[in-house]
Amino acid sequence: MTDKELQLKSVHLRKNILKYIYMAKAGHTGGSLSCVDILNVLYNRVLNVDPHEFRKPDRDRYIQSKGHSVEALFVTLADRGFFPEADLETLCQHESHYIGHPTKKVNGIEQNTGALGHGLSIGVGEAIAAKLDGKTHRIYTLLGDGELPEGSNWEAFLSAAHYKLDNLYAILDYNKQQITGNNEEVMSLDSVRDKLESFGWAVKEVDGHNLIALEEALNKGPLVAGKPSFIIAHTVKGKGVSYMEGNIKWHHGVPTAEQYQLAMSELQEAEALI
């Protein structure tokens, strides 16, 4: 896949996020649009995963700790062939496996998440397990910035550095917003880089919507040998739809018919420019 095709895919995935949230009349729109470029790069450039033989033992692992942005994960997995895209027409419906948070009932999903602050600890366990087994596969986890204050994350940060887990990558979807407002109003994070470095992690900051920069950061092995890698991906909540960008109303917002049309035409324009 060329870089241009990868860029086009990001637009396509954004359209699908909106399409299925609009159909379901439910979903976490803002956070899905903010992390979908990260997922696009992970699933199409970084992760060694096989949609047809998902459970093969040496696969790379991806755990989405900010589980509420499941729509971004669903559309990326469907696009990569883990299940038919049409399955997503049942999103959030009764008896569907495609519910509002990640579940292992869906092919390609490693871990049930939804309550925040769980993914990284599981990642630490999986990274230790890989080392024990002498395996070289990598473990990636995606955290939200609002999620970061959960104390369990900081326990996991300590343990990952303690066990020198350089097969572990935590990606921060740093959109600077959560449900109630901006991080700095809700619970200030101050310098994430300084905190993580002092916790013994190697840290790199990238533009979380620049696919090439993301690939650089995620696919070149550990940032520093013997240390877990922390990628601060600077993102925009609601990215790609002008009236959603940076507006917390869209954390859990579902577009009206008119808003949906407007969003789709904006994405159409973006596609034409690529």
Binding site: H94, I99, N112, G114, A115, G146, P149, I179, T180, V186
Partner: protein, 317 residues
């Protein structure tokens, strides 16, 4: 039977929010905490009127419970609120050690309890919280039935000294409790006197129990309906008095049958007055996505499920 009128569907969490607004004005000791779910908990008016008595803790519920325990110094009455899952299971040891064991006057106020929160699915649908909380020595556990009762209960727990777990939900449900009815902690409410079967219900299943009793009446079954809004301390006298008359009981709750209201009642009856009992509750399962109606149908939590349980239990008398 006695008629109950739905004054208009409303969500119980809005009853909590409305009471918090009143408490903000009437009780200067009341302080509020939240973990990034202000809009869901309906406490923005409290915050607007009392910005210096509100503490946003961010997504750090364990920290919130500890801070609430510490905030009780000087007679302050902390109301710590978030979704039921994160208000109980996630922070159990904080509640156990720093609030319950330490006897702190903290009000743990939990929205989105049970299965009816809908599309978010199993991770958010806690069906074990009543059990977790009622097992803690000294913890009062309250699950009001509608908007008016949630509001009254919120006001009442501010006047009670000691830890309280107040459980309410996300969907709009029938609102039928009289608007001025005072809330008495631990005092069950007799809603309909009957002679053939006792139905005790908690939370919005009280409304389902009333609907079931109406249909049963048409079939010639006289059902006594009791609203047990306080699961702990349980109004043992009200339950025993009723089953001595009717000889059988159905317990109804949006919670796992293990650890819930039904289990508290079977414990009471086994030791005091053995009585056939049927459980309208979830059967040791996690939840899933769906509308509240779909989920209540599938998991057997609606009026029809209650009717069937009544017919079953009456055969066992």
């Amino acid at each position: 039977m006695k008629k109950y009128i739905d004054q208009g569907k409303n969500d119980t969490r809005s009853g909590y929010g409305a009471a918090m607004t009143e408490l903000g004005r009437s009780n200067p000791n009341v302080v509020a905490l939240c973990a990034d779910l202000v809009a869901s908990l309906k406490i923005q008016p409290f915050i607007d009127e009392n910005p210096d008595r509100f503490f946003q803790i961010g997504i750090a519920e364990a920290n919130m419970m500890g801070i609430a325990a510490g905030l009780t110094i000087g007679g302050k009455i902390p109301f710590a609120s978030t979704f039921a899952n994160f208000a109980t299971g996630r922070v159990y040891d904080q509640i156990r050690q720093s609030i319950a064991y330490s006897g702190k006057n903290v009000k743990i106020c939990a929205s989105h309890a049970g299965i009816t929160l809908g599309e978010d699915g199993a991770t958010h649908q806690i069906l074990e919280d009543i059990g977790l909380m009622k097992m803690l020595p000294g913890m009062v556990v309250i699950n009001p039935c509608d908007y008016n009762q949630t509001k009254a209960a919120t006001l009442a727990i501010a006047d009670y000294v000691g830890p309280v777990y107040l459980r309410f939900g996300r969907p709009k449900v029938a609102n039928f409790t009289p608007v001025d009815q005072k809330f008495e902690i631990g005092k069950a409410l007799m809603l309909n006197e009957g002679s053939d079967v006792t139905i005790v219900a908690t939370g919005h299943l009280v409304w389902e129990a009333l609907k079931a009793a109406e249909t049963l009446e048409q079939q010639g079954v006289s059902a006594e309906v009791i609203n047990i809004h306080t699961i702990k301390p349980l109004d043992e006298e009200a339950v025993l008095k009723s089953v001595k008359k009717t000889g059988c009981i159905v317990t109804c709750e949006e919670h796992n049958y293990l650890g819930g209201l039904g289990e508290s009642i079977s414990g009471l009856l086994a030791s005091q007055h053995p009585t056939p009992q049927e459980f309208v509750a979830t059967k040791d399962t996690f939840g899933e996505s769906g509308t509240p109606e779909q989920l209540m149908e599938k998991y057997g939590l609606n009026n029809k499920a209650i009717e069937n349980a009544v017919l079953r239990v009456m055969k066992r008398k």
